[in-house]
């Protein structure tokens, strides 16, 4: 591209070099200001960023590095007299743990079983809230309210709601004639998993609704008017106008939510503590449980696996969605 435009302004031999400097001119009134930008301004930015950078280094990167080396050592708080190098033994202990399969399966169920309903319901709510109607603000406030509550608190709240003896869920189901006797929701592993998923879906719908509503408000009305003139129905308008227009927001929201849900032990901890029989543990709650047992070596190994897994997922997800954007454009 620069070579083509260069041919229009001067001799071919010298133009490409001079043309490469052209973007610098855009940064200031004169081309020579580029050097000033990289030194003084750069120093200024670095100076202002220094305190934050130091804090991040001390409180984020140092613990990460320190934690990483624990993954290769025998690091048990109950016996710190031996912290010798054990190589990959901690990783081996993670993979050979009888709970590993359940934990991994639960994590998949937890992420997919949460994200899909959250996206669908959140989308529907956002579409509904985009329309103008009476008391829309009140409805918006009510729908967005759960996002302001801590995950652990929601876990405790739902634990009582799903309590087999005194919980409101069984009470309502019995009054509605849907069950004859109380269901022991949190005493049965499968039902407990369903219960935590319901709680998480309720909690996370809000985030999708907020993000999608914000994106929907950027879709020009002219597009809908044009679609209506072309005779497009509601479904066609949704799939050919709305979704493509807000696609970037959808992709990023799904990516963020997958990472957050994967790393969201609070609700499960508050609601079931990973029980009964360790059957509702996901990777992060299990990691916390191992930490509570004092086995920091095994917990750190699991932590590294989580980081690696999420990094891989992020890279593949972004690559996959970028390719689609390029094909579309």
């Amino acid at each position: 591209m620069p070579a083509t435009s260069a041919t229009t302004t001067g001799p071919k031999t010298s133009r490409p070099v001079r043309k490469q400097a052209a973007p610098r001119v855009r940064n200031g009134p004169r081309g020579g200001r580029k050097r000033e930008f990289t030194t003084r301004r750069g120093l200024l930015i670095a100076a202002f960023m220094a305190p934050a950078a130091i804090f991040v280094a001390v409180f984020t990167y140092y613990p990460m590095i320190a934690g990483s080396q624990m993954a290769f050592r025998h690091w048990d708080l109950n016996d710190l007299t031996d912290t010798s190098w054990v190589g990959l033994d901690n990783f081996h202990r993670v993979f050979s743990d009888p709970n590993w399969g359940t934990v991994l399966g639960n994590t998949g169920v937890w992420v997919i079983g949460s994200i899909v309903p959250q996206l669908v319901i959140g989308f529907a709510l956002a579409l509904w809230l985009r329309r103008r109607f009476r008391f829309r603000g009140v409805y918006q406030a009510l729908i967005f309210f759960p996002w302001a509550i801590s995950g652990f608190l929601i876990g405790i709240l739902f634990r009582w709601m799903f309590n087999s003896e005194f919980g409101v869920v069984n009470d309502l189901l019995q009054k509605a004639g849907l069950i004859d006797e109380p269901v022991a929701w949190l005493a049965d592993p499968h039902k407990a998993m369903i219960a935590v998923l319901i709680a998480n879906i309720w909690y996370g719908v809000t985030f999708f609704a907020i993000m999608i509503l914000a994106a929907l408000q950027s879709v020009p009305d002219e597009l809908y008017e044009a679609a209506a003139l072309d005779g497009a129905g509601k479904a066609r308008t949704l799939f050919q106008i709305t979704i493509p227009y807000i696609r970037v927001t959808l992709v990023l929201t799904v990516l963020l939510r997958v990472i957050w849900i994967f790393n969201f032990p609070d609700l499960i901890f508050g609601m079931t503590g990973g029980g009964p029989n360790n059957q509702t543990h996901i990777v992060t709650t299990w990691m916390i449980k191992i930490t509570q047992q004092g086995d920091y070596g095994k917990a750190s190994a699991l932590g590294l696996l989580v980081v690696a897994g999420l990094l891989l997922f992020t890279v593949f997800f972004l690559l996959a969605t970028r390719e689609k954007r390029e094909v579309r454009s």
Binding site: N78, E165, A184, P276
Partner: protein, 433 residues
């Protein structure tokens, strides 16, 4: 101009970092400030401790005590992290289940020399003096009281069910609890412990069933050297316990820990609760059941008519990294004798460490009388030490709690559970040799 701004920004950043660093260094103004961390926290207990600390500070104006009270669930983990860092803790709450790993890691200070010849020892009960010393004669903590099980029961409910007195044995408890249990009325017989620390109550019934054979020095061992889990009576015990869950307990109690059990008894929905004495204070404050409706009975016995009373304890210790050991010893002495100790055990509902307390009318009346009964009959209520100080106790708790849950949800039979527990302890003791 920009150079000047950059220099100003760098200077500000440096000042912020330096200020942060200087705030971390100790402030030497002549007064010693001790950091004290408690473990079994609750708001009223923290207030009680603050009151005692205020009295100590009045007597020792050059010593200030900063009480740190992390939430109970995470407290021991927080203390571990603080101890591991090597500074920031002077006095701390040490429990019989944490003293093993913490002393093994070299985090606790041995106070034996500092407390040699201390008058306070003479005022203490034999149990308290014994609990303050480990097998090697080291003192890593001075107990502030004891936790022991008694049976909390509903007087009105057992009367309505046609029983004249509270159960004295596990069999009677099963019978009464089953008779009272009526889920349709949301009334349950027994507050079952299936969640955190579920192993403790399961072990309590096993110990009761093998009371005649148990090694008094090690509550998990029989006199023949094998584990209590290997005895045939242990299987009968667990079968009874499982029936108690199935016939007389709420289904959700499969995940009940301390708060849920105590809440269920306090709100009037369960008739029986096996708990430590500090629950007396909690239940006394209940607005759902009146003082006339409940009482405590001695710990229920096994088929031999005897039972085992595993006294759990905790106390105050000193971090090895403390720079103010002399002052901290002073604080621990203060808390472990006289009015401070009596106030703490009375208001926190603990079995006292002082001999004089046994004569106190407070401990002879109402819910406390069952503890006096147990103390008066040591041949029936055998005082046994459990191996709670071993370094693998935390691992054992995790394993055994999960196994109890598996058993009550039908994923493991009582026999499989006992075989696993027997193998676990046998292997650990072999490794220890």
């Amino acid at each position: 101009m920009r150079r000047r701004t950059a220099a100003l920004a760098l200077g500000t950043a440096a000042a912020m970092v330096l200020t942060g660093c200087s705030a971390m260094s100790p402030n030497a103004n002549g007064t010693v400030t001790l950091n004290m961390v408690e473990s079994l926290t609750n708001p009223s207990r923290t207030d009680l401790l603050k009151g005692l600390i205020a009295d100590f500070e009045k007597q020792n104006p050059k010593i200030k005590v900063n009480l740190i009270s992390p939430p109970t669930e995470q407290a021991d983990q927080k203390i571990q992290q603080m101890l591991q860092s090597g500074s920031g803790v002077d006095a701390l709450e040490v429990r019989d289940i944490t003293v093993g790993p913490w002393s093994n890691n070299g985090w606790l200070y041995d106070m034996a020399k500092d407390l040699k010849g201390w008058q306070g020892w003479n005022a203490m009960t034999e149990n308290a003096v014994k609990a303050s010393e480990d097998a090697k004669g080291r003192t890593f903590f001075v107990p502030y009281g004891f936790y022991g099980l008694s049976l909390f029961y509903r007087k009105d409910l057992i009367k309505d069910a046609g029983f004249s007195k509270p159960p004295a044995s596990w069999d009677q408890l099963l019978k009464q609890a089953s008779a009272i249990n009526d889920p349709a009325k949301r009334r349950y017989g027994y507050a079952f412990r299936g969640g955190a620390n579920a192993n403790s109550n399961a072990t309590a019934i096993i110990e009761a069933y093998v009371a005649d054979k148990v090694d008094l020095a090690n509550g998990y061992k029989l006199k023949n050297g094998r584990t209590i889990f290997s005895a045939p009576e242990a299987l009968d015990a667990l079968k009874t316990y499982l029936t108690l869950f199935k016939k007389a307990s709420p289904k959700s109690s499969v995940s009940w820990g301390y708060p849920e059990m105590v809440e269920a008894f306090s709100n009037g929905s369960t008739a029986f609760l096996l708990q430590d004495p500090e629950v007396i204070a909690t239940v006394s404050e209940s607005k759902s059941i009146s003082k006339e409706q409940w009482d405590t009975a001695p710990l229920v016995a096994g088929p031999s008519g005897k039972t085992v009373q595993p006294l759990a304890t905790a106390g105050w210790g000193i971090a090895k990294g403390s720079k103010h050991k002399a002052e901290t010893v002073k604080l621990i002495k203060f808390l472990s004798q006289g009015k401070a100790s009596t106030d703490f055990t009375k208001k926190n509902s603990l079995v006292p460490i002082l001999k004089s307390a046994t004569e106190d009318p407070f401990y002879k009346t109402g819910p406390w009388s069952s503890y006096v009964t147990m103390t008066k009959h040591p041949d029936t209520y055998l005082n046994v030490s459990q191996p709670r100080g071993v370094t693998w106790w935390s691992e054992w708790e995790q394993k055994s709690d999960a196994d109890v849950q598996k058993m009550v949800t039908g994923k493991m039979s009582p026999k499989e559970l006992l075989t696993g527990w027997d193998a676990y302890w046998t292997k650990k003791w072999e490794q220890e040799k």
